[in-house]
Subunit: 253 residues, 4 copies
């Protein structure tokens, strides 16, 4: 069975445009410096909310359409022909969040570079830039020691750890910080999850700089954060269009 | 009516060289990291000071000549064929400033990354680098809460908010900081407004670094800032020529 | 004797794939900003553990296959046809470490930019990012003044200085900091040494940022660092595959 | 008289290889982020030490061979056909230094971004990275207010200001900091002056980071700085070869 035929079979129930979007999302997040060689992005299958799409386990920057596969919400490959594929070890982050957050249709897990320092200090990451109003929904910190002890590699390697993470994320938050590791960001759409992953990093940089200048920092009010979040749900389309075009141009070259 | 004909009609009263300059300005500001997928730059129509040119609402990095349209000072599209175009929601920043500042012929609104921290802290942004002498004209902070309450998305979405912003900018300043949002920078010409937008960011970075080293900071005197501002009005031509060449080369590719 | 013939002779006992890997490692470390025009990377010859491979003395970013040569553990060129090659003056770092650390099969010496500040201050570089768990093996500081006085150029120019450095590295550590100079990073494989050199820099950046936010910093426990180090020995393969592909693509162009 | 003929006449007494070196130096310093659209680099004419070569007044990144011209030590164009060329307004920095420092054969003037904060604060820029040992020769601060009052644009626009700057540089220093402006860096050769301009910036970044971590900072001793400076006079050749190749490759494209 050649690669083209395999792809055809694998994506029988998937939308090719969605796959292209997911490929683009992988590449743009790498290009934006949110993902390095690690991390992953997924999107819930709009035709079957009990499935999600994600790449097999490779560096996001390398992902092409034939790397995308479907997983069920227990994070197992759906199609028999994907049974031999190496899956991301931390895919349970995605599946377990999709189970308990029906409002979420996309998840980005990254080692967002300037978010990491906020996961090992006491300062709270709070919205100061209007694009990052979604941080007003909360950005809880997941301390893996509390449920898995002091000796893990900090990774979400089991369904149970995925459930704990999803529980800590809660019903409302768009971002969960993961101590010594990075963050996971969720959104109602792939473009919005990418948008939020990017602006979580930007807000972290600017909050760090504001702390360097010296407080008190004039953070957004809860009301402003919510208004801004609503506006950005719509505004996410603009950076998405730009970044997608650039990602696919690079892919074409 | 095809795209070429549409463009011909739309720009009947516009100077093609000016349009090319404005396209280049959009791209160079993105390339310089002053604009990300948001923000906008405009130029007053030299043939009709009651109009200004600006792109339709897309990411600045994507702007091409056919995206440029003419607006009146109430920030409405002038040409009937542009009636269906999506306009930048915050275009009132531009129109309202042009109304009250006849000395201003170009406006850049951005989320300049290192300027944002100075909008949420008490430190004043002041000129320390000679290229940024224009900051000696003042860099007032616009706190949108004072005129629109605590629940807005921080954006300038109405003519009234534009008027308030223009009022706070005042008669002399080249830069107005917008709390939790970014800044708007004005100049007597497009090259100079771009120059000022760039050096506002650079001065912010260097002021942040100087604060990290530890004060007191030896800022420019008012007199030196004014002398330098005059010199830079002329010197703006050099970076403009370089950045324009690079922006248009990229556009050609 | 032409270049092709010379190369054939020189690499008679070397594996061409290993040479390509080493070329790629040089280029990727430059591309990642770990190496500038200085620094070097080596790999122990898997067929003869008393030899190692390294470029002749040029900027890492410029290295091609014909620049690679074999050295013995006294850091002398093995092949007579390499006798006239200029060797890295600090190659003793590599040879002397290979002598006393049989577990080490690759060494990277760099002026890793954000590691340098940690070599001239009292703060200890400690693991906070799970990818950098190997820092839990220790990151001792080599103060050259203690063995060579106050007037050296800080470089490891003799076998004796190489021995002192290797002694300070000790039996377990993956990284040794070199005061006012940079670091040397070791690993059981070339991909892992490159991985560790990269994440030493990333952890340094994030530790610096965490210190800016303000302590106490929630560093990894020793147990977590060891578990993570084990996981990353395997996970090194993923960034290696990505970086190698990019480095060789650049080389092809 | 066409451009080719003009160039031939202008460079009659100049070495084409030296011109190519100077073009490459302009471009590499821009590429390295030391020069932005402003700043300039010069080299003393090895055949006539009372002359130096420099570009006409354009952005360094744009310089090509036909932009290079010869100036005398009063910083006037030597060749009649260059009489109509726009010269850098601050060229007196170069000419006046060449007059009093026979050991100097190249000068770089830049707004080196992380050096500027050290020109407006009280911290001294001191060598901590071995490549920057030349800072042990001193890095005096030129405060233009002391000789030209409080109202200048901080630029070195006259021979007299150039003389004052050269006087403050003194007999030994390799770097002079210019308050609110940048620095000027000198060396015995073009490659070494470029090397020093680059490592002045790197050392400034690392000193700023070390100050963020917290002192005391373990700076180089005077003896080590001098030994390292000697070593780097020779080692400058390696980055020069790399950067020149890259600059000229870019020029060819």
């Amino acid at each position: 069975m050649n690669e083209t035929a395999r792809l055809a079979a694998s994506v029988a129930s998937m939308d090719r445009a969605l796959i292209d979007d997911l490929v683009a999302a992988n590449r743009m997040l790498a290009s934006l410096g949110i993902l390095d060689a690690f991390g992953h992005v997924s999107v819930r299958d709009p035709k079957n909310p009990k499935r999600y799409l994600m790449s097999r386990s490779i560096a996001p920057e390398s992902v092409v359409a034939s790397d995308i596969l479907a997983l069920d919400l227990d994070s197992q490959a759906v199609h028999p022909e994907d049974a031999d594929k190496l899956l991301y070890r931390e895919r349970f982050i995605h599946g377990e969040i999709y189970k308990v957050r029906p409002d979420v249709n996309s998840v980005v897990h990254s080692h967002s570079p300037t978010v990491v320092p906020f996961t090992v200090t006491k300062a709270k990451l709070r919205p100061l830039l209007h694009n990052a109003g979604f941080l007003g929904l909360g950005a809880p910190l997941f301390e893996i020691r509390k449920c898995a002890g002091h000796g893990t590699d900090l990774m979400i390697l089991t369904p149970d750890l995925g459930k704990e993470l999803a529980k800590k994320l809660g019903k409302d938050a768009a971002v969960i910080l993961m101590r010594g590791h990075g963050d996971s960001v969720v959104g109602p759409s792939l473009p919005n999850a990418v948008f939020r992953a990017y602006y979580t990093e930007i807000n972290a940089r600017q909050q760090l700089q504001a702390m360097t200048i010296g407080g008190p920092i004039n953070f957004m009010t809860k009301a402003a954060a919510m208004t801004s979040n609503d506006a950005m749900l719509r505004a996410s389309a603009r950076p998405w269009a730009l970044w997608r075009k650039k990602a696919l141009r690079e892919l074409g070259s």
